[in-house]
Amino acid sequence: MTTTTKSAAPASSYKPDADGRLLEVDDLHVEFHTPDGIARAINGVSFDLHEGETLAILGESGSGKSVTAQAIMGILDMPPAVIPSGSIRYCGQDLLTMPEEQRRKVRGPEISMIFQDALSSLNPTFPVGWQIGEMFRQHRGMNKSDAYAQAVRLMERVAIPAAKERVKSYPHQFSGGMRQRIMIAMAIALDPAVLIADEPTTALDVTVQAQIMALLAELQEERKMGLILITHDLGVVADVADRAAVMYAGRIVARAGIEDLYAQPAHPYTRGLLESIPRLDQKGQTLAAIGGLPPNLTRIPQGCAFNPRCRMAQDICRTELPALRQVGQQQSACHFAEEVLNG
């Protein structure tokens, strides 16, 4: 950040608490009222996020990770989405009960988000610099040419070559990786305290994936942002995340420091996810995939939602919902967490 923009930015009225806690999600529920019934996408999710921390939220499609992110951003389509209970506090203030105009001013300057597909997430009919600069025009009342200058600065920051010449180019004139860099530039434009990245690298080549992850890690370090990294790909988060929460059928089923999670998973689902990553030292062996499909959210199985796909499932798993509890250094919502951890 240059000093000029620092002075242009009004001091944020949001301050993290003494522990540096930025975001506190508590017992969040989200339902979608569809013609086929009520889909319970989020069923009591709680977590918090501190300054300078990277939290990975892992899970398959339909596990509720993206819905959680969209609920935090306040960009769920309501209806059909309904938030029957729970709270999302940002620096102590509940976003869910906040007036919409106040909440709008949180989006961008305080909490911002990067989406999976940068091509469809950027407006095809406006130059990229215009779209980045819009953040300054909307939230800082900046004029067009100053906003363009800011866009150039941000494009340089995310390492887009010849930023000055390309600031008036359109999204389709960039490669996939460059487009994602533009999304990132837009998201960090106003120096947000929290950045949510929803599958930021899924649409990219592997080499580009690594570059984007490195850029995110670098920006987070530089700005002390709280970063929520949502992905189904356990490979991309290992180097970047501090903690991880694993979601299944709208619940957090495991929570651990990133090393523990990889070294000694305490939930059969986490273990299944890890085993389904191809490894060079096990070449030739059949890749262990988790059998079956994630449950239909309008009919989540009784007991532990994972039981129909779990190799360790017993009778208790089909009747009793396991609570998230401490197991060693980690948390796991499994009746047999100790066995998994030690097995």
């Binding site: 951003m73 960009i75 709008r104 001013k105 949180v106 989006r107 961008g108 300057p109 911002s112 988000m113 989406f115 597909d117 469809s120 997430s121 950027l122 407006n123 095809p124 009919t125 406006f126 130059p127 819009e134 953040m135 909307q138 939230h139 359109y170 389709h172 999304m183 837009m186």
Partner: protein, 309 residues
Amino acid sequence: MGKYIVRRLLQMIPVVLGATFIIFAMVFALPGDPTAGKCGERPCSPEYVAKFREEHNLNDPLPVQYGKYLGKFVQGDLGTNYYGIPVKEDLAKRYTITGRLALMAIAFEAVIGILAGVLAGVRKGRFIDNLVTVSTLFVISIPVFVIGVFMQYLFGIKWGIFPATVPSLEASTYSLILPAFVLGSLSIAYVARLTRTNLVENLRADYVRTAVAKGLTKKRAVGVHTLRNSLIPVVTFIGADFGGLLGGAIVTERIFNIQGVGGYIWKGINSRDGVAVVSTVTVLVIVYLLVNLLVDLLYGVLDPRISHD
């Protein structure tokens, strides 16, 4: 861009040639004698008929007639009609009123149509949406001569708000409001529906979600981000419609007794006035092609993904 325009202009030549030849052949293939009824109650004298046919090259074979006609046309001579008046003069007078009428109809389409479409789109499923959907269906399903006569009776005769007919070539803008509205009514309905559909579709687009996530006001997310994309097909429709409207509106012009291009062609066909019909239609074809070219260029401005290189 310049290259593109030149290429498009060159492509127009065969289209214009083809269209005019077909019209030419069809008009002269029509049964009937252009000299019939020219001399009052009596048949025309053989001398007059011979002179008339000579003057208008009617004795030559069709391709020769066409060639002679075309030679004059490229020099800017649109010929004289069978009454001895240069077609160019007639057309200039009538084109003014047709053009004004078309412009006003387009203005109605753009303003009312887009406004209704946007209101219906952002309030999908609510009262205003249903109102727009039902009323546009109503307009689309009724023929324009019914709407025209009905509105003429209501606004022109019963309530007297607007003049019921506009026979003068120098009609005031006010007196053209009613005919222009009737002329544009069908397209207003189409534009409203097209705008609504596109807006509803685009409101679900990822980039609109991004716009909201950027903390933009709802007005900005819809009015700038969504509308820009939703209006691309609408502009194309309105542009093509404008080209069509410049060809005159026979039905609307007749209802309101407007002396426009549509009526001129109508009269020309009825009196077997080949030169008048062919020249007018040729001008219309050229105007239509030019308007289309303009629309295509505008399309490139609205949607940067379309390149004219």
